[in-house]
């Protein structure tokens, strides 16, 4: 029988072996061997054994028996006056840090999941970087034992200066780097023109983890001098038929006015659930005469 393993660190472990009387008891590991006779008591004690797995062998009367035992001589633990946990989800493959401006902690790997223990209260900035992509967010810690979570995601482009994986349709002839939304030269009162929309040809499944939808654009042509056309960047459930030129089916929207310099407009999408099948695009609705011409140059559309 193999008996107690006394551990305690410092000069190694003590292994007490209870074996049949008057047999040779041998312990070995990594080429090192120690042997003793079990005597009349059958109890043998080996001291100063290093941590690890030892092979114990008894032999006598032409018989042999063997087994292994693992000796642990070192233990570690962490204790602090203050500890809070920030559960961080970040894009796998990225470097993630957490800093309060004084102390900076770094994720142990790039797996995309990190239970970060912070040692003091304060505002901790969690940052994820991967080449030229980065995202950060702040977590306010006030209490020992507090648990918070944060999900960092890089922006998701629907359109970026000509690059897109989606089919866009609508009105206007796009260039290699811009979606073009033409506005009509003239509309008659109470009728909708065939110009002024640019939108996804097919709805997308709204992605998770994003709270705003943005558009970067600029305008050319002359500013509207007559009437008050309603141009908007929107999320909507339909673009069919005349709905294209009205607010029917609009889930969320932001007006996009006439700017000759690149400008960004943003929609709060934090209450639009992921998985919903929705369109993204622009729409134009006017029942006014328009005597001047302007064009919208869409550079980027993205989730963030």
């Amino acid at each position: 029988m193999i008996g107690r393993v006394n551990t305690g660190g410092g000069t190694g472990g003590t292994l007490t072996i209870t074996a049949p009387a008057n047999v040779t008891v041998t312990v070995s590991k990594d080429g090192k061997t120690k042997a003793k006779n079990s005597g009349t008591s059958g109890v043998v004690v080996f001291k100063g054994l290093e941590a690890g797995t030892w092979t114990v062998t008894i032999s006598g009367d032409g018989k042999t028996a063997q087994k292994t035992v693992t000796i642990t001589t070192d233990y570690s633990t962490t204790i602090a006056f203050f500890a809070a946990t920030i559960t961080i989800t970040y894009p796998a493959g990225s470097t993630c840090t957490c800093s309060d401006g004084t102390t900076t902690l770094t994720a142990p790997d790039t797996s995309g999941m990190w239970a970060c223990t912070v040692p003091n209260a304060g505002t901790w900035t969690v940052s994820s970087t991967d080449d030229d992509k980065s995202k950060s967010g702040d977590i306010v810690i006030t209490t020992d034992g507090q648990i918070e979570s944060i999900d960092l995601k890089y922006r998701l482009d629907l359109y970026n200066n000509g690059e897109t994986q989606y089919a866009w349709t609508g009105d206007g002839t796009d260039t290699a780097t811009e979606l073009i939304m033409d506005t009509p030269h003239k509309l008659f009162n109470n009728s909708y023109g065939d110009y002024g929309c640019k939108y996804l040809a097919d709805p997308i499944s709204f992605p998770s983890g994003y709270s705003k939808l943005s558009i970067r654009y600029y305008c050319t042509g002359t500013a509207q001098t007559e009437g008050s056309p309603n141009r908007a960047f929107c999320v909507r459930s339909t673009y069919s038929g005349t709905a294209r030129y009205s607010s029917d089916g609009v889930v969320a929207s932001v007006s996009i006015g006439f700017y000759t310099s690149e400008t960004v407009k943003v929609i709060d999408i934090s209450s639009i659930e992921a998985g919903r099948s929705l369109y993204v695009g622009t729409f134009y609705n006017s029942n006014k005469n328009i005597s001047n011409y302007k064009k919208y140059h869409i550079k980027e559309i993205w989730f963030e």
């Binding site: 967010g137 709270s211 705003k212 908007a232 607010s247 609009v250 889930v251 969320a252 929207s253 932001v254 007006s255 407009k265 943003v266 929609i267 709060d268 999408i269 934090s270 209450s271 639009i272 659930e273 919903r276």
Partner: protein, 97 residues
């Protein structure tokens, strides 16, 4: 239709203290539950979300889960349809041959 927005730009169907009247057609045909689940930021104004992100008007976006608002609106439309059918049935019943 007229709606009323509070200091947090949340929409209401009734006036009240601290609410601003807004004329808007985005909620035409929408039930009260749908309308009051939205936030409207008028042109020239800015709203700051709790995470510090700012949004400028005119912006219209749900602040309640849109799935709930959509479900409420669909139920409202089903009830309206049933009521109209009932009214039509009465009309046809009273039409003299």
């Amino acid at each position: 239709m007229d709606i009323y927005i509070d200091s947090d730009f949340k929409c209401h169907v009734a006036s009240g203290e601290g609410r601003t009247q807004i004329e808007i057609d985005a909620f035409d045909g929408k039930c009260d539950a749908y309308t009051e689940g939205y936030r409207f930021i008028p042109s020239g104004q800015t709203w700051t979300r709790s995470d510090g992100v700012t949004f400028t008007g005119e912006m219209l976006a749900p602040w309640k889960p849109w799935a709930e608002l959509d479900a409420a609106q669909r139920e409202y439309e089903r009830e309206r349809y049933a009521a109209l059918l009932s009214e039509l049935s009465e009309v046809y019943a009273n039409v003299k041959p």
